[in-house]
Symmetry: C2
């Protein structure tokens, strides 16, 4: 099948695109700058421009649209005005895709759409929706519009709510990467209290889950997560173990964020039972691979600085 992947050069999207290529599909990715993604045809353009949307759809003529592009600049995206640009780009993309006869649309959402004030598992069909940042409100509101639109024109539509993704190429200041980089550099890893419980998923797994969702017939919201409740303390210990068991974890060295939810964990029955997706490796194995990647990155970075 012909599949267009936006964000297909990005952190998660790249692995989704590669999984779709591996499954034998003809995959097109959109990139702002000329690049290559193995097995994919790259369409260069800026999705915030409607010309790019039209040109990409005309060239790819996709049956399936997997839309993963959004503004995600670390430390800025939560309340950035760019969320408005991506809400409008998404709505325009869906509208244009419907016009040219796309059969199925799958977009990337976020666990932050949920009401996270309880410690219950987030269940797609029953957990209340209560986004509290511009990022999450923009994702949620975009979904509402798209969901109502596709219902009126018979398109298949699914919305993958991503939980906490880690892996190679993550921004080095994020949780897993910053602990990894610190430990590998022989510095103490500065961490908050570490009592927060989160659902972490490896970036390859998240990409493959999105690919599976894109190829399935499942509609509506689907959590993209491991379903494993991991206290940040435990995660940090696992990273330390993966780093060879050396280095210091300084819990409490960073403040907890105000109003941080105690627990954000997904119910993954839809992903497992309806989409039929199972990760190929354990989180322990994935953390190990991630550490190897950061080790190579650290050596490369230190050579650059030398």
């Amino acid at each position: 099948m012909r599949i267009l992947v936006t964000g297909g050069t990005g952190f998660v999207g790249k692995w989704a695109a590669l999984a779709l290529v591996s499954a034998g599909h003809e995959v097109f990715v959109i990139s702002r700058t000329p690049t290559t993604v193995p097995g994919c045809q790259v369409i260069v353009g800026d999705l915030l421009k409607s010309e790019t949307i039209d040109a990409a759809l005309a060239r790819a003529r996709p049956e399936i649209l997997l839309h993963m592009a959004w503004y995600v600049e670390h430390g800025k995206f939560w309340n950035a005005a760019e969320n408005l640009d991506w809400a409008t780009a998404t709505i325009r993309l869906v509208r244009a895709a419907q016009k040219i006869g796309v059969r199925r649309i799958v977009c990337a959402g976020t666990c932050m759409e949920y009401d996270l004030s309880s410690r219950d598992l987030c269940v797609e069909t029953t957990t209340a929706i209560r986004p509290v940042t511009l990022y999450a409100v923009s994702k949620d509101s975009t979904r509402r519009i798209v969901e109502e639109f596709v219902a009126s024109c018979g398109l298949e539509f699914a919305w993958g709510r991503m939980f906490f993704v880690f892996g190679p190429n993550e921004h080095p200041s994020r949780l897993v990467s910053s602990i990894a980089v610190s430990l590998l550099a022989g510095r103490p890893a500065l961490i908050s209290s570490g009592t927060q419980i989160r659902d972490f998923i490896d970036v390859h797994d998240a990409g493959e889950a999105f690919a599976a969702l894109a190829l399935s017939k499942v509609t509506g919201a689907v959590n993209i997560a491991s379903g494993r409740a991991l206290r940040i303390r435990e995660l940090a210990e696992e990273i330390r173990a993966a780093a060879g068991g050396i280095g210091e974890l300084r819990f409490g060295a960073l403040p907890d964020r105000p109003n941080e939810p105690a627990c954000i964990v997904a119910d993954i029955r839809r992903l497992q039972d309806e989409v039929g997706y199972r990760p190929r490796k354990t989180i322990k194995e994935r953390l190990s691979e991630t550490l190897e990647w950061w080790r190579a990155w650290s050596i490369y970075e230190s050579q650059l600085r030398a």
Copy 2:
């Protein structure tokens, strides 16, 4: 003050623009085609194009943006894809307005954003939100994004939820106009059961209420309504009385729409007490004026046909 009114040549927006002119402000309206609105400067352009948004803001340099434009083609707008275009245009307009330093933004929403399954008054701060058409979902979702965005950048923002507006220039197939036109032509007016209770407001009053809201400091959602619960039967009788007490009202001649809410009436305390708006005339007087307008229209139409 400099005020930019989108939809300022439209059914309600025109009266809002004129009320702002009367109050001594410098008013700019955007129109797709060259036209005149007394006292206003007309900027010709299509708001669905970002060039128009940028050009209009650059020329008007408004302190206040009153955004009333949307797709409202009678019989089509409820589930039209154009709702997506206007959601994106609205988000882009707000984003661009913030960039050039607009101080206050007021947009037109709809009573259809509310959960209308109960017979209770719709109260801005307490009635649940549950839109069920693409039109209402698009309005509601747009509001969610804009509300969160302005909160993050200190802009003043209000959202006027319009109830059932009638008056001159309404589409001749809508409720008040179709009854008026039928009776004035000596034909029986075909009506549904007429048991539905609605909150009707005259278009001049709705426009003036929006102007008052634009000039106030009130933020958040505000119902734009008369607050008067009128059964459609009673409304039809009042129209008949305004038409001179002649003609036949055939209740039950048209089917009720499936799942039509029994009662849609606004709590107008925010509009009255916080915005300080009071209509200058009664609904009876306004229906009388409206009938006079349809009488003139009918004579003109019959001359055109002759």
